[in-house]
Subunit: 196 residues, 2 copies
Amino acid sequence: MTDTRNTRADVVEAAGRLFAARGYHGTSMRDLGRELGLQGSSLYSHIRSKEDLLVDVVQRAADLFVSSAERATALAGDERAVLRALIAGHVDVLLDHVDEARTFLNEARSLDDPHRERVLAARDSYEHTFRAVLTAGAASGAFRRDLDPIVTGILLLSILNSVDRWYRPAGRLDRTQLVDAILEFTLRGIALPEHG
Amino acid sequence: MTDTRNTRADVVEAAGRLFAARGYHGTSMRDLGRELGLQGSSLYSHIRSKEDLLVDVVQRAADLFVSSAERATALAGDERAVLRALIAGHVDVLLDHVDEARTFLNEARSLDDPHRERVLAARDSYEHTFRAVLTAGAASGAFRRDLDPIVTGILLLSILNSVDRWYRPAGRLDRTQLVDAILEFTLRGIALPEHG
DNA sequence: GCCTTACGAACGATCGTTCGTTAGGATGGG
DNA sequence: CCCATCCTAACGAACGATCGTTCGTAAGGC
């Protein structure tokens, strides 16, 4: 019963899986066919080229990240609340769509120019959302004023973009605790407060 | 004058450059030959296989990271000083050997089993150094006691391993300021201290 | 005269892709 | 209700290109 015929969405999903695990150049069309129980040539009933698949996977991830950020900023609340929502949204996208997100983060460089620029633009817009909240928080008094929001945003996103490399849902932290840990680290750091 | 004959070290260095830029599977031996002004087949005067090159590049980066950590822990000083040295050492390796470090971080999965395990073991040992300092600092009172050193170490290393993706020496921060920014973020976070 | 470095042709394997064809379910007219 | 039709998904052979690699050979400095 599971061996019904495949749709384009099935192909894109399997492509995400393999691209995430072995990279775009490390995945052949025949590999991808085998993953679906097909011949490599049969994939061309669904797509026009291998690059098409990468575009689809990466674009889908980009959309997920951008719309997650939009939902977070639409929230009522001070900058801390929005920042928490941004972190939680990023973690959700990363963990609920690991393969697309991984491919987005690691394989975008294999896109050819028009597509790569479009993806980099989406990423810029996404990162800008983080910077904007950090800047607003510094102005409103929620965050320190002596830190550069650009650098701070990059450091936070460095943490977030690495979550899929180590976090395992079966481990000690559930997802809420993960978000809390990242937020706590970002807000207060590891130093003892009473210390100089 | 620059077109003297090439040594094995030249080949490994050029391989690191291309592996970092295009990935292991995205780099062909003929690409690599062209980078050195050679035929692809001529590379086999210096190496036995393409995989050899990846092993060399990745192993070299692993050694650099591990010995950097050893130098940092050999330092006199409290845990904050050692932590700063660890951060500075990591940044130095990453920026002074970008290509090897990038390849180490991104292409280790393309190694076959015996070599990959050895590299993962080196990485584990390196990360253990960070955890050990964080644990010692929590015990001595330099750092907060309510944070998990394992998680904290991972978050810090997430920041450090991403530095090469955004830091440009021509930008606003020189290298010392970069280390200071990371240390400050890690120790105190972005929240206003007087805030709840 | 040897040893290192490089060449260039060639190997079989695999790459992404095209093509003509087919099985079978959906569709619609009589 | 049946049959002709169409469409989608898949096959398998084949294409030229490129892959990593081998081999026999040549050039040139210690």
